[in-house]
Symmetry: C2
Subunit: 209 residues, 2 copies
């Protein structure tokens, strides 16, 4: 059964907290990105922590190793449980993130492939190698798009029992019934937080996948 991860891409602090709170009983994890953090500050973590489920910083960290380390330090110091980073900047950049994550007892996931059209330009050709680097660096898993289940099946042959989390369900076109059996977690954003009753959708998804 796949974990259900809420992509809390809501910019308004109050609405974000309301959605998170109402959905928490049906969630395994909450993923927070830069839009919410920039709009409200990193302290949003202190307001989400009491919900008691793991928080993932989806910062797609993509700088030089030294700066990546600084960013990840701040991520885990404030209380995140995991971070999502880019593999495109290479093994040393990924390793800098994994090292910090593990020092805090946290997890690190690497973006192996993305779901938008532009990802075809550079990502598609190198996602196998990025996945390999993620594994060699000791990352806990990869992020791969629900819009491309064939690619997920292929990347599974590289990651083995490590985790695959898949965003792109719903609005972006990923079909949950096809993808859920292939991955360790499905990441759902707009389908939940833009619904008239977010917790109802979360409850429904949690029950069937």
């Amino acid at each position: 059964m796949a974990e259900l991860i809420l992509a809390l891409d809501v910019i308004e602090r109050k609405r974000a907290l309301d959605v998170a709170k109402s959905c928490t009983p049906y969630l395994d994890k909450i993923k927070v990105g830069y839009p919410l953090v920039l709009a409200s500050s990193l302290n949003i973590v202190n307001e989400l922590k009491p919900l008691g489920i793991p928080l993932i910083a989806d910062f797609k960290v993509a700088d030089i190793p030294n700066t990546n380390g600084l960013i990840c330090n701040l991520v885990f110091e404030i209380g995140f449980d995991a971070v999502i980073v880019h593999g495109f900047p290479g093994a040393d950049a990924v390793k800098a993130c994994v090292d910090v994550a593990h020092r805090f007892g946290g997890e690190c996931y690497v973006v192996a492939e993305m779901s938008h059209t532009g990802a075809n330009e550079f990502f598609s050709g190198v996602s196998d190698r990025i996945t390999l680097i993620a594994m060699q660096c000791g990352a806990e898993g990869i992020i791969a798009p629900a819009t491309r289940p064939d690619r997920i099946t292929h990347l599974r042959t590289i990651v083995g029992s490590k985790k695959i989390y898949a965003p792109g369900i719903g609005v972006q076109g990923g079909e949950i019934e096809k993808v859920a059996p292939l991955v360790d977690g499905i990441i759902v954003g707009r389908m939940i937080y833009n619904a008239p009753n977010p917790s109802e959708i979360a409850k429904h998804l949690a029950k069937i996948y």
Copy 2:
């Protein structure tokens, strides 16, 4: 004459503001990255604004187009004058950033190549294409490493009169006297802010390049 851009990669808010203030008379721009913003919140911009020189958000934005747009909106709403984004997520991701930047009358720069060892794994082979995408999307220029002046000379043939800003001077090994004549701006961080007297170094660099 190349612009002098301070990379304000100092995490402590007070020290960052002190360094920025003392160096401002000799600077053309200040570049702020995620470590400082995460440690202090996006409001650090409101404290740097009164210095009266352009502020660049070096966020190396690298998400899907929708999220990139949200991040850039927050960047320019708070008062940044320019943003640095990644080109490897493809043209649509870059275009989303450029569009927001221009709507605010701001600028967008694309990372064409990076200065660390890991950049050899994926970046080096595609930096020409990334640079081309940056130009096609209407970006104001690119970021290319001072550690590779031969690459800067080559990328100049693609960007023409658009700007090239080069980080990696000093600690990372870039030789300022070789690079300054090739670029529109040199980005200097540790060499200035880790000096016993940062403003003295900034003054010296501003005078000779």
